[in-house]
């Protein structure tokens, strides 16, 4: 017997798991509100350790949701991040799906 899920439940199950993780959701939210953000700024806003932050940004990069920009300020290497168009769409899609899943 096949059990049919209600649409809200179906929507919740189909949420983008890459974004659904709270730390990655915060990272993308920050990136969505600026053109380019330095690693240090993300560290402050998310409160994550350097290692954790690197791990989450790598996952977002692998998903194609952010772009890593490596540069030098004087002799200091600086890592910055930019949200990609796919990242913006995924974030928007995530919120749309989540709002749709909330019972009216």
């Amino acid at each position: 017997m096949t059990q049919t899920l209600n649409p809200e439940m179906q929507t919740l199950l189909e949420l983008d798991r890459v974004i659904h993780e709270p730390a990655r959701l915060v990272i993308l939210t920050v990136l969505n509100n600026a053109e380019e953000v330095e690693f240090k700024f993300l560290e402050t806003t998310t409160g994550l350790s350097k290692g954790n932050l690197s791990s989450h940004t790598s996952k977002l990069e692998q998903a194609g949701y952010l772009e890593v920009v490596k540069a030098f300020r004087g002799k200091m290497p600086v890592t910055s991040f930019k949200i990609t168009q796919a990242g913006r769409e995924a974030l928007l899609g995530y919120w749309t799906a989540l709002r749709g899943a909330i019972p009216s």
Partner: protein, 216 residues
């Protein structure tokens, strides 16, 4: 993590990114310091080609100096948590063309007024107009904030018109000259207080960020 927390991060990021990019705040304080300098420098310019060239150079140099100082302030004061740059609006070619066209029309009009004898003013102003327009466009491309550029253009034009005309035109009474001088000395006070107010707002924003991230 709650939705409120996410919204708070969103709002703070937007505000911080605006400061981080343009250093609105003490950047205006610096502009306020440049205004009387420009005003009195324009007053001292000689009439003629030399004055016109010096006027053009002065307009571009003052704009360049302000942009450099603004960048310096930004990196020293408004990027303490790292750089987060506010998004640049899409390059608006119509605005730039409008500025250039406006500058050309204004210049043409000034030539007509001058040659018809309706107004008397030195060449400095006429030559400075296109230079200012170019500088203004450059600054706009850099700041991407219409408020910034409007203020900056007014500030530079003000210095030149007020300074240049005031010193050379025959049709200004002593009272008018005095009023202009008072205006160009008083304007920096207003600009400074605006800049300081914005700087204080940034300090509050910084505190909110510290609270949000659990820093002491």
């Amino acid at each position: 993590m709650s939705l409120d927390h996410l919204e708070k991060i969103q709002t703070l990021t937007k505000k911080y990114a605006a400061y981080s990019r343009t250093s609105i705040g003490l950047g205006y304080f610096v502009a306020a310091g440049l205004l009387p300098i420009l005003f009195f420098a324009a007053r001292a310019l000689p009439v003629g080609v030399v004055g016109a060239v010096l006027g053009g150079l002065l307009s571009v140099a003052s704009l360049g100096l302000w942009l450099w100082l603004r960048q310096y302030i930004s990196s020293r004061l408004y990027q303490g948590f790292g750089v987060a740059l506010a998004p640049k609006p899409v390059f608006d070619i119509s605005f730039v063309l409008g500025m250039v066209l406006g500058a050309l029309l204004a210049t043409g009009l000034l030539f007509l007024l001058r040659s018809s004898g309706l107004m008397t003013f030195p060449n400095t102003y006429v030559f400075a107009a296109p230079a200012l327009a170019i500088g203004a466009v450059a600054a706009w491309r850099d700041t991407k904030q219409h408020g910034d550029i409007l203020g900056l253009t007014t500030f530079l034009f003000g210095g030149f018109v007020g300074g240049g005309i005031n010193s050379n035109a025959d049709n200004l009474t002593e009272l008018q000259r005095t009023i202009q001088t008072i205006m160009f000395v008083a304007a920096p006070i207003l600009l400074s207080s605006w800049g300081i107010r914005q700087h204080n707002e940034f300090k509050k924003l910084e505190q909110e960020f510290k609270t949000l991230s659990g820093q002491p």
